[in-house]
């Protein structure tokens, strides 16, 4: 997909990988609707992109809230027009320090699923139909190796990401032939606020920079031949074309 002039929505866009994706897509000429819970940090991202001549709009909303979903979709398409790209990047670890599953409160597991699984499902439900009738669109689910590996203490997050991977595959199967491409992308370990919350003593020098990962995800969006619908891609193993 040629990104120039396309409408794109990114959740969790105020920091980390979301912010890096926003800056990378804006540099390619996308028109952005950026979603995050806190208006302040989000306005900072929007201001940075506008100062560089890019198009970005801020939507302060919580993806885990059902009532926020049509607000997000309506504000986004009211401000940037039709959407061709949606990146489900927002996610929560649940309470930190991370806990064993048997120590996880039921309500905390449910809240993680609302944000990491049900939120992306609801947003796709209200955005993908228009893409499918137009015959073009890309949905990206940001995943994690915790979706595949059984890391102790990563239960709530890992379960939500494993389920989101499967959500991505089933959506791809159901939307086959419509022109909408559905991807899951494991970004690998990055130097972000979220990583520091999960693993406070990590060696930051060994972590990828979010901007480098974002550049690879942009290539995946542009390259339907190598990033086919239903694929689960691992960003550190992605080779630039």
């Amino acid at each position: 997909m040629n990104i120039q002039g396309r409408g794109a929505l990114i959740t969790g866009a105020s920091r980390g990988l979301g912010r890096a994706l926003a800056e990378a897509l804006a540099a390619r000429g996308a028109r952005l609707a950026l979603v995050a819970r806190e208006a302040g940090p989000l306005d900072d991202v929007v201001g940075t992109i506008r100062a560089r001549g890019g198009v970005a709009h801020a939507i302060a909303a919580d993806i885990g809230d059902k009532h926020a979903i049509h607000r997000i979709a309506g504000q986004a398409q009211g401000l940037v027009g039709e959407l061709d790209i949606a990146i489900h990047n927002a996610s929560t670890l649940g309470p930190t320090p991370l806990r064993l599953l048997l120590d996880t409160e039921c309500e905390d597991l449910a809240a993680v699923l609302e944000t990491n699984l049900v939120g992306p499902f609801r947003l796709t439900k209200v955005l993908a139909g228009a893409m499918a009738l137009r015959g073009a669109g890309v949905l990206v689910h940001v995943s994690s190796d915790a979706a595949v590996e059984a890391y102790p203490r990563w239960g709530a997050y890992g379960v939500s990401k494993a389920a989101q991977d499967h959500l991505s595959r089933i959506l791809a199967a159901e939307l086959e032939g419509t022109g909408v491409r559905v991807l899951a992308v494991d970004p690998g370990e990055m130097d972000t606020v979220m990583h520091a919350a999960a693993i406070p003593d990590a060696d930051r020098a060994s972590l990828q920079r979010p901007a480098d990962v974002a550049a690879r995800i942009v290539q995946m969006i542009e390259d339907p031949a190598r990033a086919g619908s239903g694929a689960r891609l691992v960003a550190p193993r992605w080779e630039a074309p």
């Binding site: 302060a60 607000r71 401000l79 027009g81 039709e82 228009a130 009738l133």
Partner: protein
């Protein structure tokens, strides 16, 4: 209760004998479809899921992909008098166009609501959390310039949309017990928020049915039409409905219409808004304003068939149906619908005219 005089009784008898359409909300999965074949006059009742079998390979279904705005905002005049503002068209920049209603809410039928307070050009009012200046006022029709605050015009637009979605609700219907959320008034393919009431003919088009249409070789194309208000609370204004409405026909849809007609297929409009947009544009690509009003004396030139809700005489939508079928055929459709207990609610059952 007084007894009816014989002449009154005669006038009321047919209505009593024949029940009116139900007004229940019908689940999207449970919608029924009454189909009229104009050539034979045959009327048949189906489950809505039978739709793909009633159309044929080479036909083209055209839908209105406008999402429904939360178009009802709480307002207050400079003197502190309350009103409800119902947007009558899409938001353009910081410009809001709408109809004012007096105190009370949607639980009261619009025609029974008290008149709204008078406002003057230049007066400052509030709508939701926004301050706004009245730039035009003609009776209850108003135009407002909202002032979301801030120096940067792009940041002001962000703030305006944030305020709109934070404070407004979808336009509600008096015959419902509870308020409809935005989730209940969107189609399965809604895109840009241009409609102030739901383009409801497309509501029963689930993805199961849309994909089945595709499998059978029926094309599906979109346009965007700013579906307007169904009532204004003012009988004289209601007479003028529908007002001119903005639309946009994308080039891919114009191409699909041309190809369908060239191959002898039928163009099926989903909803009266699609009929207006296609007849106003003559099926050509581009943006425009549909001001035409179809009725018994007009013949559609682009649209061959229509999927719609159930409409009764007296509604502007019913007049549009008369452009497609004679009154006696439409009456047979309605009789069948009444006897089967079909719902004429905006969120009710469906009618197909082929």
């Amino acid at each position: 209760m007084r007894a009816l005089a014989p002449r009154e009784l005669a006038r009321w008898w047919p209505a009593m004998w024949e029940p009116s359409l139900a007004a229940d909300e019908v689940s999207r999965q449970a919608v029924r479809l009454v189909a009229l074949e104009r050539r034979t006059g045959r009327v048949a009742l189906h489950a809505f899921s039978a739709l793909p079998g009633l159309l044929g390979a080479g036909d083209l279904v055209v839908v209105n992909d406008a999402a429904t705005l939360p178009a009802s905002l709480p307002g207050r005049t400079a003197a502190g008098l309350v009103f409800e503002l119902r947007l009558s068209g899409p938001v353009e920049g910081e410009h809001l166009v709408g109809v004012m209603f007096g105190a009370g809410d949607w639980r009261t039928r619009t025609e029974h609501r008290p008149p709204p307070p008078r406002v003057e050009v230049g007066e400052r009012v509030t709508v939701g959390p926004l301050s706004a200046t009245v730039t035009a006022a003609r009776g209850r029709l108003v135009e407002l310039e909202a002032e979301p605050g801030g120096a940067d015009p792009e940041a002001r637009r962000d703030a305006l949309w944030q305020a709109l979605y934070a404070s407004a609700a979808p336009v509600q219907y008096a015959h419902r017990a509870d308020a409809l959320p935005l989730w209940s008034v969107q189609t399965a393919y809604a895109a840009r928020p241009w409609a102030v009431e739901m383009p409801s003919a497309g509501r029963p088009l689930t993805w199961d049915i849309l994909l089945e249409l595709r499998r059978r070789g029926v094309g599906i194309a979109t346009l965007t039409h700013a579906a307007g208000l169904a009532s204004t609370g003012d009988a004289a204004l209601d007479e003028q409905l529908p007002w001119p409405e903005r639309f946009e026909v994308p080039p891919r849809t114009a191409a699909a219409i041309a190809a369908t007609r060239a191959a002898g297929g039928r163009v099926i409009a989903v909803g009266t808004t699609v009929v207006r947009a296609l007849e106003a544009s003559e099926g050509r690509a581009g943006a425009g304003v549909a001001s035409l009003v179809l009725g018994p004396d007009t013949r559609p030139r682009v649209v061959d068939g229509l999927l719609t809700g159930l409409h009764v005489p007296g509604e502007s939508h019913y007049e549009l149906l008369r452009a497609f079928a004679p009154a006696d055929q439409l009456e047979r459709v309605l009789s069948g619908a009444r006897l089967a207990g079909l719902s004429g609610h905006e969120l009710g059952d469906a009618c197909l005219i082929l």
